[in-house]
Symmetry: C2
Amino acid sequence: MGSSKLHIYNDEINEIAAMAKVFAHPARVAILNYISRQEACICNDLVDEIGLAQPTISQHLKVINEAGLLKGSFEGKSICYCLNIERFNYFQKKLNSFFKQTKLNCC
Amino acid sequence: MGSSKLHIYNDEINEIAAMAKVFAHPARVAILNYISRQEACICNDLVDEIGLAQPTISQHLKVINEAGLLKGSFEGKSICYCLNIERFNYFQKKLNSFFKQTKLNCC
DNA sequence: ATGTATTATTGCAATATTACGATATTATAT
DNA sequence: ATATAATATCGTAATATTGCAATAATACAT
């Protein structure tokens, strides 16, 4: 018990839920938001900026990264994270078609 | 520990995360999807359709409802749920502006 | 080689979520 | 009043998530 029964849903539905999960924590929204406000790529300062411990930020970055939303590149001793626009657009497209389809036959 | 530190983020960010959370479980996506496939409003049959126990469906419906996404009306001994289109559109609009803003200054 | 700065991983405690059986509630029908 | 059907709530077990201290790994500089 306790764990989500993913096998009873189709891939389409599981994909939407998995994508939403990435944005379902404010720290991850804030991280993406911070990335967007930077001229170039960002590196560390998320820890100072957001106010969570470094391991916590690293953990959230991992979730975002594993969803394919980041392009990281090494710049000296730090890592420069950058949004993977193509993937981000894919998320937007998929979520919008979920919205569209859900509204379609509604009363 | 363990709980999300909501107070360190601004309202905008917490709202996005809260909205995403609604869609972050496949059962809730499936419920909304099923509603969309019905001619009129729906009632029970979610339990048969989705394959989770009745209390579990009820719990997920509560989450969707507390997010303001449902319009329920009593029809005899059952309840007819229906999508609250206005609220649903608001979700879509907010999420899209998050996408837009995030892409804005990206490298 | 040693030191320093950045990021990742490990381990663990606190909390949240998911799922369901049992039971209560609500609304109709007989 | 009693039975029936639909939905909600309660209690609880299993699992997941969040957050952080401690530590490891990585990359550069001296």
